[in-house]
């Protein structure tokens, strides 16, 4: 306990940040607790103290990565964007694997999908993260004044599924991210009568 008491409260965050990077670069199966501990500058027993199992660490790393992406979004001033169309386009961008933090998040997502098949206990984490994305995007769609026949929640489900399906192809290297972006935006623009050319810039 002395080590834990003496550790600054940032240790947990450092472990999570290190885990996110290791999972993104090595994959969850090759993620070694000892390596994460070394990257975070803590002992392996401290990692085990905070996270009982690998699955617990993966689940929390995902939540952590999602929160961090949310901070990036706010820092980008997305909420200050007064034009609802541009704001929606910037939301679409946040759902695609642009290089950097977003790409890292994406690799984690992929690992989570994989795990969920054999570790149903991770399901609620995934469903919770998805629900937050869904509510966030629904609001962005609703702000664009959709035609009466459009249900913003259903359109958000379709848009997120498109981002996931196209994003995975970008990640594997099958297409350029600009192309995926233009596809998602083109579809949203057709449904919402928005400016399709906005997504091509």
């Amino acid at each position: 306990m002395t080590e834990i008491a003496a550790t600054e409260c940032g240790a947990r965050e450092r472990i999570l940040a290190a885990a996110v990077e290791r999972i993104a670069s090595d994959g969850i199966d090759d993620m070694r607790i000892a390596r994460v501990a070394m990257d975070a500058g803590v002992s392996t027993s401290l990692v085990h103290y905070h996270f009982e199992t690998r699955e617990a660490l993966l689940g929390e790393a995902l939540e952590f990565s999602y929160e961090r992406a949310g901070e990036v979004r706010r820092a980008d001033g997305e909420e200050a964007e007064p034009d609802p169309q541009r704001r929606l386009l910037s939301m679409v961008d946040q759902c695609l694997p642009y290089p950097g933090v977003l790409r890292q998040d994406w690799v984690l997502w992929l690992e989570l999908w994989l795990r969920t098949v054999r570790h149903p206990e991770l399901g609620p984490t995934g469903a919770r993260l998805y629900e937050r994305m869904h509510d966030w995007l629904s609001e962005g769609i609703a702000a664009c004044g959709p035609p009466p026949a459009i249900d913003p929640g259903e359109l958000a489900d379709r848009a997120l599924a498109l981002c996931d399906g196209l994003g995975v192809r970008v990640l594997i290297g099958e297409m350029a991210i600009e192309y995926a972006r233009a596809q998602v935006w083109g579809y949203l623009a057709r449904e919402l009568n928005l400016d399709a050319s906005l997504g091509e810039g």
């Binding site: 098949v117 469903a127 196209l166």
Partner: protein, 187 residues
């Protein structure tokens, strides 16, 4: 042997699937498994290709029985062939491994290309029959294929909001908009 490999990979994941498990399930020895497949990646690839081939053969047989292009579209969006095995678990394994393995990435692209050609052919067939509007078949195939993959992920995550029935409705809604036709009433 391929069926055994598919089962083991589905249950344990590629990383934890052992060649000896596959051998045991197939009633053979590990050396003979390795004689046919140089690596586990090779095994995943062959297991998937074989499962997909069965799926497409079944689907083609079923599609040819259906005259209406709109009904064909409803059929493939509704999970495809009745007996065929669209194997989400194996697919996800392939996606994740394709990130670091160019050979598996090529396999994924190949299988995906076949699926997209099936969709595009139905679009052209429906356009020739005057059932569908003037969408670009290849663009539509990519859009619908990506949507179906994304929805499969939501279902796999156990999202309570997205069941397979609802996923079908969501996909048909996209197809209706893009192909300018009625589909949901036929499902």
């Amino acid at each position: 042997m391929l069926a055994a490999a598919a089962e083991v990979i589905r249950e344990r994941g590629l990383e934890r699937a052992r060649v000896s498990d596959v051998a045991e399930r197939a009633g053979t020895s590990a050396p003979s498994v390795l004689y046919y497949f140089a690596s586990k990646a090779e095994l995943l690839k062959e297991a998937l290709v074989s499962a997909e081939e069965g799926y497409y053969e079944q689907l083609d047989r079923e599609l040819i029985e259906i005259e209406s292009a709109r009904e064909r579209m409803v059929k493939i969006v509704g999970g495809g062939a009745g007996e065929g095995d669209y194997d989400a678990a194996l697919w996800m394994e392939l996606w994740a491994k394709a990130l670091s393995d160019p050979e598996l990435a090529a396999t994924r692209a190949e299988l995906d290309g076949r699926w997209r050609r099936t969709i595009a052919e139905i679009v052209r067939y429906g356009q020739a029959r005057g059932e569908f509007g003037p969408a670009e078949p290849e663009d539509f195939a990519l859009l619908l294929g990506s949507l179906l993959d994304g929805l499969a992920v939501q279902i796999a995550l156990g999202d309570a909001e997205v069941t397979s029935g609802r996923a079908q409705q969501l996909s048909l809604a996209l197809a209706e908009r893009e192909l300018d036709c009625e589909l949901r009433a036929m499902a």
